[in-house]
Symmetry: C2
């Protein structure tokens, strides 16, 4: 398994997989300028909430290295500039803001010289990445307990290693179960319109020798009916007090799982819980019609002039969710609320 | 609305839309040789069960014209050859066999000369096409009654004019309601892997000025939840005594409709009823992995070496079906069984 992003200590560089070229080419990008990292987030060389958080942290570390020889006042001014630049890279990515703010807080509260602060921020950026891997491994450990030897797991979109720094969320239980020598295979929904399942989940499973097949999103129901799926595990972008928000299509998968008595699990780091929200607080992002009408920007499918509806996320109510897997364990939605809701 | 296929009387020709070029180009093919019609079915210039039935009938008419100056014995021999050739055009299309057999029965039972038989078969082929249009218009008339002014109808795949000779099955109620001056709009599931919804349903709606939007298959659940869909109408390939068989993805749409209290209707000519069958009698066709992995044969999406599951049809149990619309009326599944099952 390749880290989607890492800090190269010897050279003070950020190294990441260019995910826009997957699955056809594995190419690494190396950046020494934080502005290039911002751009890599904008053009989606890197995607997935935790991976974006790590990238933004490392970008801030690059900025401190660029400005560490300035006076403290000039340094603080330049770091504020860098923070603002980073925040504009992908305004809908909440982990981007979280990471930039985490770094700025340290910078603003430090009494050290710019050079000392820079050392501290480089360590902090590496810590952000390491924390993500630790959380994912804990999710894997707990999630592996619900997987039986021989299970086939359906997943939707990519909540794998490529969406995180490494190891993944929804794929973490699969990896952990395989490490325990259970035989597990994966069915990946292709996940229209951007096809992250067909491209990324298929790629990383194949790379790590996890048996994987791809299916069109609309066939998950039949596959369950035919007995070809044992468990469903998906990731999530946000969990409110009543529903799971995840990639469009998740709700249909959950309905089919319920109708076929197949357990439906959501892998969710604590940091993704947003339990003060309810369904009504969350606005579903509508994206460009062209993502649907022109596949991967290459093949125009619909007639000119016909609009496509392109909602990015789906709402899956708790009544369809068997369990939520966090770094602390596997919980029913009710248990999860009891544990985490103040 | 353009007929997908027609017989050109003055020239004894078959004229059809080349559906492989839609929605980007509207081109007509004209054939005087039955072998060319067989090929057009094989390469899917024409598709949809009723349209294939009409094409096969007209191909047999072309064959009679080719051989009408032979002796009766030679004529019969050549017509048997033609029938066998046609049956091989697309072996899974039941309407193909039905149409060829209907023509051969007339040919074999006739006392007329080859030339007289040819005239009879040309008329019969035109009748097959006309019968289809009549059935569809009856489905439209009955189906229009369930549509209210202002409704948005979700449909899956293409069961429109292009799948039939003209007018369509699932789209017939929409057309009829609009003829009654109701305001109706359509949301077309794109229908992976072959994208008949995005390509064909969108095309024929746009052509006929029926308001239409396209969505990725995995968004129908959210659209229903957001109140953007009032009714679902789909076509069907076969109705057994316990389920509706239709394009893969239909079951998920039906589950979402049920969960959101949205009526789910199936437009079904009597000829598509197969009430002696049950779910267990029907084997689901598995098609080539490449239809999913390489979109429209143009864009490779998955990594090399990853297999795609590609089941062509879905099983929707009667408990999810609000009504079945035939040329005789709108029936609950129970009423339909009572009416049509001997």
């Amino acid at each position: 398994m390749i880290p989607s992003i890492e800090w190269v200590d010897e050279e003070n560089k950020v190294k990441m997989i260019d995910q826009t070229l997957l699955p056809h080419e594995l190419k690494f990008l190396e950046f020494e300028d934080y502005r290039e990292v911002a751009n890599s987030i904008t053009v989606m060389n890197i995607r997935g909430a935790p991976a974006i958080g790590a990238a933004a942290s490392m970008a801030m570390a690059l900025a401190t290295l660029e400005y560490k020889d300035l006076s403290k006042d000039e340094f603080l001014e330049k770091m504020n500039e860098a923070a603002n630049h980073m925040r504009k890279a992908r305004p809908t990515a909440s982990n981007l803001f979280w990471a930039v703010n985490r770094m700025m807080k340290i910078i603003e509260n430090s009494n050290g010289s710019p050079s000392e602060i820079s050392e501290e921020i480089v360590e902090e950026a590496k810590l952000v990445a390491q924390e993500d891997v630790n959380v994912n491994k804990s999710i894997g450990k707990h999630g592996a307990e619900i997987l039986a030897d021989g299970d086939t797991v359906l997943t939707h979109c990519n909540a794998g290693s490529l969406a995180t720094v490494q190891y993944g969320t929804a794929l973490a239980p699969v990896r952990a179960a395989i490490e325990q020598r259970k035989k597990i295979s994966v069915v990946a929904d292709e996940t229209r319109p951007r096809l992250q399942g067909a491209r990324l989940t298929a790629y990383e499973c194949q790379y790590d020798k996890i048996p994987v097949k791809v299916c069109a999103d609309n066939s998950s129901g039949l596959l369950m009916k035919l007995g070809k799926i044992d468990k469903v595990i998906v990731g999530t972008d946000r969990v409110s007090s009543d529903a799971v928000f995840n990639k469009i299509g998740t709700y249909l998968v959950a309905l089919a799982a319920k109708d076929n008595n197949i357990p439906f699990y959501v892998a969710c780091p604590r940091s993704t819980l947003s339990l003060k929200d309810t369904i009504d607080d969350v606005e579903i992002e509508q994206r460009d019609s062209g993502e649907v009408s022109k596949i991967l920007g290459k093949v125009q499918v619909t007639p000119e002039g016909v609009e496509c509806l392109n909602y990015a996320f789906d709402i899956t109510p708790f009544r369809l969710v068997t369990g939520i897997i966090t770094e602390d364990g596997v919980f029913t939605p009710e248990e999860m609320l009891k544990k985490y809701k103040e």
